[in-house]
Symmetry: C3
Subunit: 318 residues, 3 copies
């Protein structure tokens, strides 16, 4: 980050960097190269899984939210670090994952991704007395609004959302647990951070992380692995496990606690393991809590768990 | 407001002014005349729709909450401005709209409207570090408690509450969209601020606003109009649209952002439009979220949206 | 509390005192004798009702959470006062009341009771600007996570949890309301503070309270009595009333407002009665709110009501 953090509006290169870093900041990396690999992973996975609009939604929302930061004259060092775009890109991927391809959905993406920029600023204002930030919660909060609307507004068809139901125990285990499959589930846990259900994207995301921080790549991989182990050991629904849906929030918690907010050390590693395991249970709990309205948790379990492990303000490794 | 803000307990004229301003403050107007027109509108609409108890519930709750402010020796300038009563009147209208006419319901109105006075003080204490107030959220929070109880306590019959259900898409559009009907829906959006489903009341409320502030009347009308447009464009449930249920929260958001917390200007007008549109989606989202327990959102969408647009603390027009 | 609050890790007597006081602090009593009587009541009631694991779960969780406080080097005066253990013991009783006896459940108890120690520290950090503490909410929040998981993870069988359902009015009153039965319901309201459904335990808890504070014993008894009266008068579900489920949160609110946070006086007594009555309605409301996921409220109604009556910061009796 430059000492003089001024951004020249209209300079396409600076703007491009802001956008790429916005992608990178989803996993706390202030690096255009990491962001580029994330985008490649998103587009590869989205096309491979036959959902190209998920990638395009993310790209449009990334552009919109970054522009919004300029227009609102937010602090420009935040823009250079990509802090305007990381909620936006997730909004675009999120809405296009669950909502059908309509004009209304695209307008919702534009509005919702712009909204995250000032909602993030507002949430950070609220949370600043406690020394934490809002993480990806602006994305979660704003996207929830539009996904809930999709249940009641015909211009936002909820065709890809899960069915609403009262919680019921799933008993049948239909997904094999041999080593090749476990590897796929593990990597999908990483790829689902961007709502991508594709193991190759998971590999690309890990490479992107390693470009900027080996520790981040390690903890992302370890977070998904731990989540996989706990989810299987506790008999979580096997389809969720197989699609990496128990992995993406623990991946983020592990990066946050393992090497972002605490310096890597044995003490912080233990803390990170506890936080990651807790995230798995918060994921399961929120899955149940939202079943009656069929709402996805998005990355809320990561936000909640990481807050719980930062609020006590222990002096661990930093 | 007088420099010496002391209220003489026992002076009926002062007390009456406090009550009338309490009605006016529901839409942010510190004016007895505005409050009087609101009360006329409430009584007219309640009798016209065959629900006179909604008006009487509101009147009783307004008296009780204003007295509670005196008894608790709250700051008397707040009383003179009507800040004790605006949550109370909504409590009375709210409980009598949804709960049957029983002794238990009337005791609930007395307890709940008194409760809002210190819950408001508590919420304002919590929120003061961020420079916002609790708006009508004390009414919302306290009324939710008793409406939820109505599902499980026989002394609070839930006969006028909507059925509980898992969210389902409503497809049939059964309400006509020609101009005369649209005008009615638009004015009902205003009248529903006080839970009154009557377009004449909406006219009376707009006149009441105009007596105190032309800008407030303009933004109330514009807020309901924008909400109507967005709700129709996005295919929200047509019965909700026809009854003005997509309008009342945006009306309040528009008054709050358009001319109460920001000075009217082109910049604040744009901000207000964004906030009003966002309120419509929060309304739809909360409608879905509460379907499994059949709880009305009350004015929570207004509170949430307005907070989201004030927390960032942008310097817009003031 | 000693001036020099240092705890000597490894001194079994000090550790035992911390644990016993942890039991006592559930009802705000910093006394080993009170804690001992609470434990006797828990074990008596659990065995009498054929659920011995509820008592053993509580005991294990009390030990684990108190050890966690030592290991994390929390302020040792808090440990001496039993502030590490009171959430823990409730976690153990809570999980074993609702979840079947599996290895997974016991690991959950260990993790969840440890979790409460730093979640409490975090919540207290958040709430300190407003001069309140988190009460038993760390227990509530952390236990909710694992109880919700029990709906979706087979290693946490939800066999003792209530069925999920959309809210429906219960009409049949099947529990007799003669004096002997009312006495049982009243005492069960006290025993359910520790999730024990046994009137003798209720007597033991009241004796334990009286050992430390006559006022606390009085308000506990009065709180359960008021709750019983209001719940019957408003026609709450009779099975909940008969099992003391409308009593345990008001018991805690009454002790908190009647003699813990305000000095006993006529003014604080009136305030306490209002708070206790409000707790009954919050209990009914949360019961309905959680029906679709079949989650128990635990002591959340007490926490919410007591916060609502402390946040306004009235100068009542202290």
């Amino acid at each position: 980050m430059e000492a003089n953090g001024s951004l020249r509006l209209g300079c396409p290169v600076t703007y491009l960097h802001s956008c790429l870093r916005g992608a990178g900041q989803v996993m706390f990396q202030n690096s255009s190269w990491t962001g580029l690999l994330f985008l490649i992973g998103i587009f590869y996975g989205a096309y491979a899984e036959g959902q190209p609009l998920v990638a395009w939604g993310g790209a449009v929302a990334l552009l919109v939210s970054t522009i919004t930061g300029y227009v609102l004259e937010q602090p420009s060092d935040e823009g250079e670090e990509g802090l305007w775009g990381f909620n936006g890109i997730l909004v675009g991927c999120g809405i296009m994952t669950f909502v059908g391809n309509t004009v209304g959905a695209w307008i919702a993406i534009v509005l919702c991704s712009a909204l995250t920029v000032w909602v993030r600023r507002g949430f950070n204002n609220i949370m600043s007395p406690w020394g934490v930030s809002s993480f990806t919660f602006p994305f979660v909060f704003c996207t929830w609004i539009f996904l809930l609307c999709a249940r009641t507004m015909s211009a936002l068809p909820s065709e890809y959302m899960s069915a609403v139901s009262l919680p019921t125990a799933e008993t049948a285990i239909v997904h094999p647990l041999d080593l090749p499959h476990l590897l796929v589930y593990w990597l999908k846990g990483v790829s689902q951070v961007f709502l991508i259900n594709n193991w190759v994207s998971g590999v690309l995301f890990l490479i992107g992380l390693a470009l900027c921080s080996r520790w981040a790549a390690f903890w992302a991989a370890a977070g998904s692995g731990m989540a996989l182990f706990i989810a299987i050991a506790y008999g979580a629904p096997s389809s969720d496990i197989a699609n990496g849906l128990y992995g993406f929030s623990p991946v983020l918690t592990a990066i946050a606690l393992g090497c972002t907010f605490y310096k890597p050390s044995w003490r912080s590693a233990l803390w990170c393991v506890l936080g990651t395991v807790t995230t798995v249970f918060i994921q399961g709990a929120m899955d149940v809590l939202f079943m009656p309205v069929g709402l996805p948790t998005l990355t809320a379990p990561f936000c909640i768990a990481t807050w719980l492990f930062i609020f006590p303000k222990f002096k661990i490794g930093r």
